[in-house]
Symmetry: C2
Subunit: 253 residues, 2 copies
DNA sequence: TCAAAAGTGTTGTTCATACACCCATGA
DNA sequence: TCATGGGTGTATGAACAACACTTTTGA
């Protein structure tokens, strides 16, 4: 009995090695959902217009092939983010890996999806430099799904290349689920070393897609972040329209 | 300005295609953390002893190469689980993708890790059939990390092949975080169509690694599952040692 | 003085926790 | 009868939500 099983396992092991050479190795890409906020605190995403086939002239999230053996997946994503936006040192987390054989018509492409959160305004210049190839789109939700729009273009989730609408939906859902017990929102602040409670609240409202009560938000913020020392009260104020608002600073970055 | 950028983008696009053929394509495997409970409700994991290099004779989590073009990642994981345990139709979820270039000494291997939760006792026969090649190990936690042990062998997390200890830790952490707001625990029941509150409570205790208060657990269970109709009261009891316990049945599977 | 936004305080509800106590069974 | 685990009820405090009210600025 044991002997029989050992032979069988050796066989299985051989077959595995055989598989590795027999079956075509897939291409592996990292694709990035790059999210930021615009001047009116709406959630925006960076999309690029594809220059080549497949899905030529379709909008897609940026991505590129992994340089196998030369970089890790995280490094590939960071490199891609940098080449697309000239930004580094931002929140960049692996999201999910997509591998349906038919998701790319050319060949099997495994896509390791990442999500990047970019501080407010940081992407403005880049997106404006060539409006035809890489643009920020405001994200809205409607009966038939997500709508991406800016002053030039309006597209729906069905217009996107590959399964990118699925990836984007997962990113937004993940972000929304995480925001209540992780510090993700701070990554979208204009300046995490000088921000007001209202600024932070607007980010939560955007991501959760509903309005929040300011007194209660303040209470929770003071308890979870200031009392625990993660955020310090700068004891300065900044003038805006009504009463000047107190400034806070996030520690540890 | 625009013209200059367009040329540059075309160039970038060309380079990406060039990369895809220039750099070696990585191998892609699916590796599975298979968790179940033993007779005393301790968390167990299925490990296999590697027959070939690298890490020959080391224990590892089961896995195999993706048959690119023939199956999706989910299908590859399900096929691997079936071949290793002869079990299908169980909880099987993608966990994370590992891609450090040096994680496999042979070549770049991208590992898409999955987690499987197998109902209690279902793996008993298989693991016993050949104790040398595939065994269940009880998971314990100690100062220096996780300890895997059964009646034959005791190993520590450092004895495992590749970065598999990292994968296992992530699986346990993920499970522990999910269990409070997802229904994952039901997948570990001996029989989800006939179970008692105590049985379910013991699963929560195992995963959270602390004891729970039965009256409070019952209250939460009745509110979250029975009142909402996800679980029905079978209005039957089963005898055990003290007072007979009421049986419940999970709907929708 | 008024609008606007920041900030404070109060109240009621829900939920988690701790725990005292009763119930039904086998031995 | 007693031990054992199942099951019920109650008290306490924390967290959350709703909202009335005050403060400080610019116009």
């Amino acid at each position: 009995m044991k002997e029989k099983k050992r032979v069988s396992d050796a066989e299985i092991d051989f077959l595995k090695k055989y598989d590795a050479s027999e079956y075509e190795r897939p291409s592996v890409t990292t694709d990035i959902v790059i999210l930021t906020l615009d001047a009116s605190d709406a959630l925006n995403i960076l999309l690029i217009k594809r220059g080549g086939h497949p899905y030529k002239d379709c909008w897609a999230i940026p991505g590129g092939f992994l340089k196998a053996g030369q970089e890790s997946l995280d490094e590939a994503a960071a490199r891609e983010l940098k080449s697309e936006t000239n930004i580094d040192n931002v929140y960049l987390k692996q999201l999910y890996t997509f591998g349906r054989p038919d998701r790319d018509p050319r060949t099997t492409v495994i896509s390791v999806a990442y999500m990047a959160l970019v501080p407010k305004h940081k992407l403005d210049i880049h997106a404006g430099s060539d409006a035809k190839d890489a643009q920020l789109f405001r994200i809205r939700y409607d009966v038939n799904g997500i709508i991406f729009s800016n002053e030039n273009t309006t597209i729906t989730e069905n217009d996107l290349a590959f399964d990118h609408s699925e990836i984007i939906k997962m990113a937004i859902t993940r972000l929304r689920n995480r925001i209540d017990y992780e510090d993700d929102a701070f990554n979208l602040l204009r300046d995490s070393s000088e921000f007001t409670i209202s600024e932070l609240k607007r980010i939560y409202e955007t991501i959760k897609n509903r309005s929040l009560d300011l007194p209660n938000f303040r209470k929770t913020f003071l308890r979870d972040y200031v009392s625990s020392g993660k955020v310090v009260d700068l004891e300065k104020t900044v003038i805006s329209k009504g009463k000047p608002a107190r400034l806070y600073k996030l520690l540890d970055r």
